[in-house]
């Protein structure tokens, strides 16, 4: 079965969605990602949806779910590169994805994850010391 690759970059997992998402693919991605976060003990998940042209409420909810699952597993989700039309569609669908952090592109998204990981380290390091 077709799967979306999940790449590890330092503390973060990078997912680039390059194909049209259908529901089964989305659910497979959710499963794979959950496994991978636990395996690699990642601190951040970056989802690049700049090639995604069509979204529906299911994909919107999937993004929300991924963010919620990642948060439980102590990883921050950042969605980057959303197209204007996609953003308008999601808002009109009533899916504001309030639980998800967003950034304009992969570079800014990575910077955001890096900042959060660093601050989390700082506090946990102090707690441990």
């Amino acid at each position: 079965m077709e799967r979306i690759p999940i790449l590890k970059m330092g503390d973060a997992l990078l997912i680039t969605i390059q194909v049209d998402m259908h529901d089964r693919l989305a659910m497979a991605l959710e499963d794979d990602l959950t496994q991978k976060i636990v395996q690699s003990s990642a601190k951040g998940v970056l989802i690049d949806i700049s090639s995604l042209e069509i979204v529906d409420s299911f994909i919107g909810r999937m993004l929300d779910n991924i963010a919620a699952v990642s948060r439980i597993l102590d990883a921050q989700t950042v969605v980057v590169g959303m197209r204007p039309a996609v953003a308008i569609t999601l808002v009109e669908l009533g899916l504001a994805l309030t639980g998800v952090k967003t950034a304009l592109n992969v570079e800014k998204g990575m910077a955001l994850i890096g900042k959060q990981v660093a601050s989390a380290r700082g506090t946990s390091g102090r707690n441990a010391g």
Binding site: P84, A87, V91, L104
Partner: protein, 290 residues
Amino acid sequence: MPASSHSEISAIIDANEQQILKEWLEALRQGASLETGRIKEPELNTQAKGFFSHLRGALREGGLDVRSRGYETLRSFLAEVSRTRALKGYSPSETAMFVFSLKRPLFDAAAKSADASAAAQRGWEINQLIDELGLQTIESYQKVREEVILRQQSEISELSTPVVKLWDGVLALPLIGTLDSARTQVVMENLLQSIVDYGAEIAVIDITGVPTVDTLVAQHLLKTVAAARLMGADCIISGIRPQIAQTMVHLGVDLDVTTKSTLADAFAVALQRMGRTVVDVDSIAGRTAR
């Protein structure tokens, strides 16, 4: 007999062509068309002569039925005349007078060339014909004016939604006029596209020019903010006037975003978030000199 009446009118026109044209032009000149300088005499002459020759052709081919095929060229000629007049700022009656002032010369010609009862019959037919043509003029005049209004509407909605770059990564969107759903759509699309184009992280939506903020407008604003956030940009709403702030509180509108009273305040917040600051040059110079 109705079958021959149009040929009789044609005959009347043919016989008195010069006379009718002369009288008509005289009437047009008196009708203040020239005094205002909106139209030159040669142009008026061409229009009148053009109309006249088209009318003769139409009478030959289409009889007295203005809606028939034979009148097509005459109708499009009239439409063109009223279009130019509408654009030059003529009033509807001034435009219609172009056709209506032909009535008198035609009546006179008809009265001269027939006995009383025939003349009355021709007069009635001419009357109807000219009235129909006059209505056509008004209709095309109205159509042109409506086109102008539509174009102005779309121009206003485009003009009133510019996206301004304030700083690297900071955009401003000064909104002017009431926000309805159609305009919100344009505003949202403009803003989101500009966020992509400029790679902006912060967008300041300034509503100083929005006369009233009710629950609907607030909802439109929040939609725009939510869409911008999905793209990865933060929004600040500025320019909330005192009365509007009060109305919003009375209505129970809760804007769940950073709000500032002026664009300057919002810009300061934006710079702070970007890790930048504005300093007084003199104070730095003084410090280094010391």
